[in-house]
């Protein structure tokens, strides 16, 4: 039969590899030894259809552990799964050996379920070895045991196998009997897929008996069930397989048209299923459909209908060509061989002898196992036909024919070269794929290992980044403070004043003022690089600044600086440029708009209770409220430097236990009129230790 379907085999494969993955994930978590044995056994058993060597590895792990902990049941299962893996490796003697070991223990334990499994497995080996009577007797024993413990799934699977053995022996009566039993069982249990499989198998048996219409009936009923299942899981190949089966039956029946139609349906079903092997299946379908058209074309020839022949042979050629492409893709040499042979036949019938010869040589190229005699004979026949056709047409053609022969020979040579080349390509690509796989595994492991490390590094980096970000913000705030101090307005006004001294030929004042201005600029630039400066330094800079402002405003500006004599201002430290913005505000917003005497007082006092010094900046200006009103009216924005200073103080405070505080007091006279602003900064004495900062 073209499509062989084995219920048990197919069911085993269901999602097998996925299951393995989930089992392996389970492994490290299972602590109890019996659980471990169970898992090893499961893994071993799941692997046998895919990688029997891995299956053996896990089986032996299970066996060792089971023996170590003296767990007989586990040991028996381990023997069984090892046996299954040996079976998969075609080492039947060893497989039988292990099955028997397992059976011995299971018999001692009276574990009927496992015994049934053992019997089934042993029967499998007998079947392969061709000892059908033994196989049948073991299968039947297995069925008896499974039935006694109501393990109906095992019963079903084994019945299918029994039917298969009978079928191979052409004992159709018993084969049908067991298949019907299997169908009935599946139906009773509600296993729709199993039922359909068994019906397909039943159809196969019937078609072997040439009971085609009955066979078709069963296959089509199975198809209905499969289609229902496919609605839920469209990626299963059941429907496609069954289409193929039906096509094959129609072919045997001689209904080539129906057969071709079903093969085409099978083709379009396989096409939507992903995977490499479906590519091969699609090619097979095309080839079979092509064969059908060949038959139809021959029928046309038989009834002397040239037209029918032409249509069908054209369709056949098309299908076979497509099949060839797909076979090449799936590297199915047997399929290629068959297809080229069919093509050669079509071409022969079309009287296209050179093309026929060409296809035939390809066929030979892929038919490696063909005997030399057979090959020579075939070539002789083909060549004779070829020459005969040539003589029949005209003598002048002989030259052409010889040329064609020469051409074919050259092609054969090229083909041989190509084949050699192909082999090389396979070896090289296999090597490359292997290398790539190794690399992937290597990098995957390395990536996994470094992931944890990376996480640690990342956390550390994040922490450092935050620190740096904070420092950056601080630097930015310092810079803003610096810029607000070196306020462009202030600079240009100062330069403007110097310009006036020069213009009015007051050389001494110009030189003195320029000197003071340079001194102030230098101090600001120097201090801006420091994290902390002494109060002494800061006050010296402020005096320079105030002197410049005083020149601008003239005698109306009075400045008083009072320092508590108990304080050693050289030992009090504070961040640079902390006071200047407040003083600038006092002048720019408070005193500038004030008429009459403008007074600015700076007082440094000791606060004995709180371990800090207080610096008061007091003006008799118009007050903040009034100043803001003026700014609003003036038509343009005059900036306060207070915001930048406040941000900066907050950032510095983030890094200290002892905080800088500042209070702003809007002074008022007893009758409520504003009398200026008082700003009080509290600087912790602890700040003298500049090491604390950053």
């Amino acid at each position: 039969m073209f499509f062989s379907l084995s219920a048990a085999g197919q069911l085993n494969k269901i999602d097998g590899l996925e299951l393995i993955d989930s089992l392996r994930r389970e492994l490290p978590r299972k602590q109890a030894d019996t659980d471990k044995v169970k898992l090893y056994n499961l893994l071993s058993f799941r692997y046998f259809t895919y990688y029997p060597d891995t299956g053996l590895y896990y089986g032996k792990l299970a066996l060792n552990l089971a023996i170590k902990i003296g767990w007989k049941k586990g040991e028996a299962r381990a023997y069984n799964s090892i046996g299954a893996n040996y079976w998969a490796k075609n080492n039947f003697i060893k497989a039988d050996d292990y099955y028997l070991k397992s059976l011995k223990i299971n018999t001692a334990l009276n574990d009927k379920k496992e015994m049934a499994r053992n019997f089934h497995n042993i029967a499998d080996i007998y079947e392969i070895e061709g000892d059908y009577s033994q196989a049948l007797s073991y299968y039947k024993k297995s069925i008896d045991f499974s039935e006694s413990i109501k393990d109906m799934f095992a019963v079903y699977g084994t019945e299918e196998n029994v039917a298969e053995v009978y079928k191979v022996q052409k004992d159709y009566k018993n084969a049908v009997n067991y298949t019907l039993r299997a169908i009935q069982l599946a139906k009773n249990q509600g296993w729709q897929r199993c039922q359909a499989y068994s019906m397909v198998n039943f159809g196969d048996i019937l078609s072997e008996q040439k009971k085609f219409s009955d066979a078709l009936l069963n296959e089509k009923q199975a198809l209905i069930i499969f289609k229902k299942i496919a609605k839920i899981n469209p990626l299963k190949d059941d429907v496609a397989n069954t289409y193929g089966n039906i096509g094959a039956i129609y072919y045997l029946q001689g209904d080539y048209k129906a057969s071709a139609a079903y093969f085409k349906r099978a083709f379009s079903q396989y096409k939507i299923i992903p995977g490499i092997w479906t590519n091969q299946k699609t090619a097979e379908c095309l080839e079979k459909a092509g064969k059908c058209y060949v038959r139809m074309a021959l029928n046309g020839l038989h009834y002397k209908s040239q037209k029918e022949f032409n249509i069908n042979s054209k369709e056949a050629t098309n299908l076979l060509d497509s099949a060839l492409k797909r076979f090449y893709k799936s590297k199915d040499w047997a399929g290629l061989q068959d297809t080229y042979l069919t093509l050669a036949q079509v071409m022969e019938k079309e009287n296209n002898y050179p093309a026929s010869l060409f296809a035939y040589k390809h066929y030979l190229a892929f038919k490696d196992s063909i005997s030399v005699d057979e090959r020579d004979k075939e070539i002789t026949i083909k060549t004779m036909q070829y020459e005969f056709a040539g003589q029949k047409d005209s003598l002048a053609l002989t030259n052409k024919v010889q040329q064609a022969r020469l051409h074919s020979l050259q092609q054969e040579q090229e083909l041989n070269k190509l084949r050699a080349k192909q082999q090389w390509i396979y070896i090289i690509s296999a090597a490359i794929i292997l290398c790539a796989l190794m690399l992937i595994v290597f990098y995957y492991n390395r990536a996994k290992r470094s992931q944890l490390k990376n996480q640690l590094i990342k956390e550390r980096a994040d922490y450092q980044l935050n620190e740096i970000k904070h420092k950056n913000k601080l630097i930015q705030a310092t810079l803003t403070a610096l810029i607000s101090q070196m306020n462009p307005h202030f600079i240009f006004n100062a330069l403007n004043t110097i310009q006036d001294y020069i213009y009015s030929n007051d050389k001494r004042s110009a030189v003195y003022y320029l000197g003071q201005f340079s001194e102030l600029t230098r101090k600001i630039l120097d201090n801006s690089g420091e994290e902390m400066v002494s109060l002494d330094e800061e006050l010296k800079m402020l005096q320079l600044y105030l002197e410049m402002e005083k020149i601008r405003f003239g005698e109306s500006l009075n400045i008083l600086i009072h320092i508590d004599p108990e304080i050693d201002i050289e030992l009090v430290f504070l961040p640079p440029m902390l006071l200047q913005p407040h003083i600038e505000n006092a002048i720019k917003h408070g005193l500038m708009h004030k008429k009459g005497e403008k007074r600015l007082t700076i007082t440094v006092n000791n606060c004995k209770t709180a371990e800090e010094v207080s610096i008061e900046i007091d003006d008799n200006g118009i007050g903040r409220k009034e100043s803001m009103l003026i700014n609003k009216k003036s038509g343009y924005h005059r900036s306060f430097a207070t915001k930048a200073t406040q941000t900066r103080i907050e950032l510095i405070n983030d890094m200290f236990d002892h905080k800088i505080r500042f209070d702003i007091l809007d002074k008022k006279s007893p009758n409520g009129t504003p009398e200026g602003t008082n700003i009080k900064l509290h600087i912790p004495l602890i700040m003298k230790n500049s090491q604390v900062l950053m």
């Binding site: 306020n487 462009p488 307005h489 600079i491 240009f492 006004n493 330069l495 403007n496 004043t497 110097i498 310009q499 006036d500 001294y501 213009y503 009015s504 020149i551 601008r552 405003f553 003239g554 500038m592 708009h593 004030k594 003026i630 009216k633 003036s634 038509g635 343009y636 924005h637």
Partner: protein
């Protein structure tokens, strides 16, 4: 005939310097008064009726820009030259209305140029500039920009501008009325004066749009904006997000 001038300046040194420089440039200029703040300056203007007033922006209590609050449109029969040390806001306002100003410390050459200009200019030409200028300071009126053109000045409502496009060192200004003006200033100049207007956004190296006129944004080998007059203008890829933010915030 002497040319009467009043200096309104709160810093005695600056006032003294300006007076000295003016005397050196043209002995005909007579500084009739120097005032330390705006109210006294206004009194002095009414008293002396000068030809020109040198007006500092930063003054105590009242700023120089508030001069217009004290005079009606027709009252201003004197020229004004603004002076400032550093005030980006004021500069922008001047540039918007093509009004001349002087930066401190003063440069003699520039001072000379300004003096010559006002002594040769007739009064009528300056009036629309000043009107636009004072309107820009009132909260209710539409903001305006003044563009010098060959035969005078073009005064444009900011809200009528759809977009501005760089044309070498010139700028094409596309207006709502489907007209287009070529200004002899580069796009950078307009970017500076439009900085305070939140509905203008530079979407491309060569284009500033009034986002109120952006109809559609789409991607087609780079981003493109379709404007109210159906013109399509390119949007720089790195500006798209900012543009969307600006539009959202309007």
């Amino acid at each position: 005939m002497p040319f009467k001038a009043i200096i309104i300046e709160d810093e005695p040194h600056s006032a003294k310097l300006l007076e000295g420089m003016l005397n050196a440039i043209d002995p005909q200029i007579l500084v009739v008064d120097k005032c330390g703040d705006l109210p006294s300056g206004i009194k002095s203007i009414r008293k002396h009726i000068p030809h020109v007033v040198f007006l500092d922006i930063e003054l105590p209590v009242y700023s120089g820009l508030q001069l217009f609050d004290f005079f009606d449109e027709d009252d201003i029969n004197f020229k004004i030259i603004f002076t400032t040390a550093y005030n980006q806001y004021a500069l922008r306002a001047f540039e918007m209305c093509a009004i001349d100003y002087l930066m401190k410390p003063l440069q003699e050459s520039k001072l000379r140029l300004a003096v010559n200009k006002i002594s040769n200019q007739n009064d009528e030409r300056l009036t629309p500039l000043m009107n636009a200028f004072r309107q820009n300071f009132s909260e209710t009126a539409d903001k305006k920009i003044v563009l010098p053109v060959s035969d005078g000045y073009e005064i444009i409502n900011l809200n009528d501008i759809i977009y501005l496009k760089a044309e070498g060192s010139y700028t094409n200004i596309f207006l709502k009325a489907n007209t287009c003006l070529l200004a002899s200033k580069n796009l950078k100049h307009f970017q500076f004066i439009l900085e305070g207007a939140s509905n203008f956004f530079r979407i491309h190296r060569s284009i500033i749009v009034n986002i109120n006129f952006v109809k559609k944004l789409y991607r087609n080998e780079g981003a493109v904006a379709i404007l109210a007059n159906n013109d399509e203008v390119p949007v720089a890829v790195d500006r798209i997000d900012d543009l969307l933010n600006v539009i959202r915030n309007i």
